[in-house]
C-alpha cells in the first residue's frame, strides 16, 4: 500500500467513525437544552403555588408551601454542567434563548448560580414559617432569577 493510499484509508475510516459521533453529540446537545428547560418548567410549577399564596390568590398552607419550596431546593441540586454544555447557545441552536456570554470569558454565571442557590435555600427555610415569611422571600428569589435572565437570556421575539 502506498503511503498516499494509507493516508486516504485513515482519513476515510476517520470520516466514517466521525459522522455518527457528531450526530450523537448533536443529540446530547439537544437533550441538554430540553433537560434544562424542563428544570425551569418545574421551578415555575412550584413557584406557581408559592407565588399564588404570596399574592393571596391561593390560601396559605404551611405544609404545601414547604413541599413546593423543598421541591425547588431539590431541583437546584441537579448537576448543571451536563445541562449547560458548551455549544448549546442561541447562535449554535434554534430552540434556546441562552446567550453565548454564559460560556464566554469573564462570565459570572457561576456566581449568579450560587446567588440563586442561596435564594432557594432562603425560600426553603421561609416557606413553611408563615405567609409573611414566604412573602418576604419572594423578592430575593425573583431577583436571583431575574439577574441571570437579564444578563444571559435573549429577549423574546
Amino acid at each position: 500500500m502506498s503511503v498516499l493510499s494509507k493516508f486516504a484509508s485513515i482519513a476515510l475510516s476517520a470520516a466514517v467513525i466521525a459522522t455518527p459521533v457528531v450526530a450523537q453529540d448533536q443529540k446530547a446537545l439537544e437533550a441538554a437544552v430540553k433537560a434544562r428547560q424542563a428544570q425551569m418548567t418545574l421551578y415555575a410549577f412550584n413557584l406557581g403555588l408559592l407565588g399564588g399564596m404570596a399574592k393571596g390568590q391561593i390560601e396559605y398552607d404551611a405544609d404545601k408551601a414547604q413541599a413546593a419550596a423543598s421541591g425547588m431546593a431539590a431541583l437546584a441540586t441537579l448537576d448543571a454542567s451536563r445541562m449547560w454544555l458548551p455549544g448549546t447557545d442561541n447562535e449554535a441552536m434554534e430552540n434556546t434563548r441562552a446567550l453565548p456570554a454564559i460560556w464566554a470569558e469573564g462570565s459570572d454565571v457561576g456566581a449568579k448560580a450560587e446567588a440563586f442557590g442561596a435564594a432557594v435555600t432562603a425560600m426553603d427555610a421561609a416557606a413553611g414559617q408563615g405567609l409573611e415569611s414566604l412573602q418576604a422571600a419572594m423578592g430575593g428569589l425573583g431577583g436571583a432569577c431575574g439577574s441571570c435572565h437579564k444578563a444571559y437570556r435573549a429577549p423574546k421575539n
Binding site: 421551578y43 407565588g51 399574592k55 425573583g142 431577583g143 431575574g146 429577549p155
Partner: protein, 298 residues
C-alpha cells in the same frame, strides 16, 4: 410695490419673532419652591420611582457602581444617538454646582442651567408632573450621591434635530404636564396615576409616538415598537393586559409574571427599581393600570 415688500418684510419679522418666542426655553418661577425643605430619605424613593439609575449608571452595569451616576449609556434613536450625562454631585462634570431651581427647571421644564432645551430622551415630559415636594426631596437625595469627574459624552444628533432651539416648538406641541387619565379615580388610583404618568414615566416606552416623537395620548400605554429596535413593548391597558392587580404588584416586586417567568429586557431593570418602592405604591400602580382606558391593538 414698495408697500408689498414692506408688508412681506413685516410679516417675516413677525413670524421670526413668533418663532423665537415659541421656541424660547421657558422656566419655572424662581419662588415656586420657596419654603420647602428636602427630605433625602423620601427623595431616595422618588429616585427609584424615577428610574434615574437605569439610564445614568455607567454602561457596564456593575451593580456596585449603580449609585455612581457617571452616565455614558448610549440611546440609539431615529433622531440620533443620545448619551446619558454625568448627574453625580461633581461640581464641574455633574450637578454639584446647580441650584435647586436649576435642578427643578431641568426636571420640570427640560431646560438646562445655561438656558438650553434638553432633548426629550430625558423624560421631562413625564417628570413635569412631579409635585414640588418630590422635586425638593429628590434634589436632597441627589446631593448625597458620590461625585465622578468623568466628562459627559456629547450627543450625536443630525441636522435639523441638532438645533436645540427647535425643541421649543416640539415642547409646545407635545409636552403636556396635565394628567393623561382624567376619569374619576379612587385615592389609590390617583396615587398610581401620579407614579405612572409622572416619575415612573411608563408612558415614555409603553405608548406609541408619532413621526416627530410626540406621544400619542389617544393610545396611552397601548404598546409601541422597542426603541432599541428589538421586539415590541407591550400594551399594558386593560385592552391587552389581563393580569390581576395582585399579579401586577407581584411583577413589580419580584419580577415574576403570572407564569413565573421573570421580567426581561429593559423591564428587568425597571423591576429592580420598583422592587424598592413601598408595597402600597406598587398596589397603587396596579390599581391605576386597571383604570386606564382599554385600547386594543389591531
Amino acid at each position: 410695490m414698495r408697500k408689498v415688500i414692506r408688508g412681506f418684510l413685516g410679516l417675516g419679522l413677525i413670524c421670526a419673532a413668533a418663532g423665537l418666542w415659541i421656541t424660547a426655553p421657558r422656566t419655572i418661577d424662581a419662588d415656586t419652591l420657596d419654603g420647602l425643605v428636602g427630605n433625602a430619605e423620601h427623595g431616595a424613593q422618588v429616585f427609584w420611582t424615577g428610574g434615574c439609575a437605569s439610564c445614568h449608571a455607567p454602561p457596564t452595569g456593575e451593580t456596585d457602581e449603580v449609585m455612581l451616576l457617571t452616565g455614558g449609556k448610549a440611546f440609539v434613536t431615529d433622531f440620533g444617538t443620545f448619551f446619558a450625562p454625568n448627574i453625580t454631585s461633581d461640581p464641574n462634570h455633574g450637578l454639584g454646582s446647580w441650584s435647586l431651581t436649576e435642578f427643578a427647571n431641568a426636571m420640570l421644564a427640560g431646560v438646562s442651567p445655561s438656558g438650553k432645551h434638553y432633548y426629550p430622551a430625558f423624560p421631562y415630559t413625564s417628570y413635569a408632573r412631579l409635585n414640588d415636594q418630590d422635586i425638593v426631596d429628590l434634589w436632597a437625595f441627589m446631593r448625597t450621591l458620590p461625585p465622578s469627574d468623568q466628562a459627559s459624552k456629547p450627543h450625536d444628533v443630525s441636522f435639523p434635530f441638532s438645533i436645540r432651539r427647535g425643541l421649543g416648538l416640539w415642547k409646545q406641541l407635545f409636552a403636556h404636564p396635565e394628567s393623561v387619565v382624567s376619569a374619576d379615580l379612587t385615592p389609590d388610583q390617583q396615587r398610581g396615576r401620579y407614579l405612572v404618568e409622572g416619575p415612573g414615566h411608563c408612558g415614555e416606552c409603553h405608548s406609541p409616538r408619532n413621526v416627530l416623537g410626540g406621544i400619542d395620548y389617544a393610545r396611552w400605554l397601548a404598546g409601541a415598537p422597542n426603541p432599541s429596535g428589538q421586539g415590541t413593548i407591550p400594551n399594558i391597558t386593560p385592552g391587552a393586559l389581563d393580569w390581576s392587580e395582585s399579579d401586577i404588584a407581584e411583577y413589580l416586586s419580584s419580577g415574576f409574571t403570572p407564569e413565573y417567568d421573570s421580567a426581561g429586557g429593559e423591564m428587568a431593570e425597571v423591576v429592580e427599581n420598583t422592587a424598592r418602592l413601598p408595597q402600597s405604591d406598587r398596589d397603587a400602580i396596579a390599581a391605576y393600570l386597571k383604570a386606564v382606558p382599554a385600547v386594543t391593538n389591531k
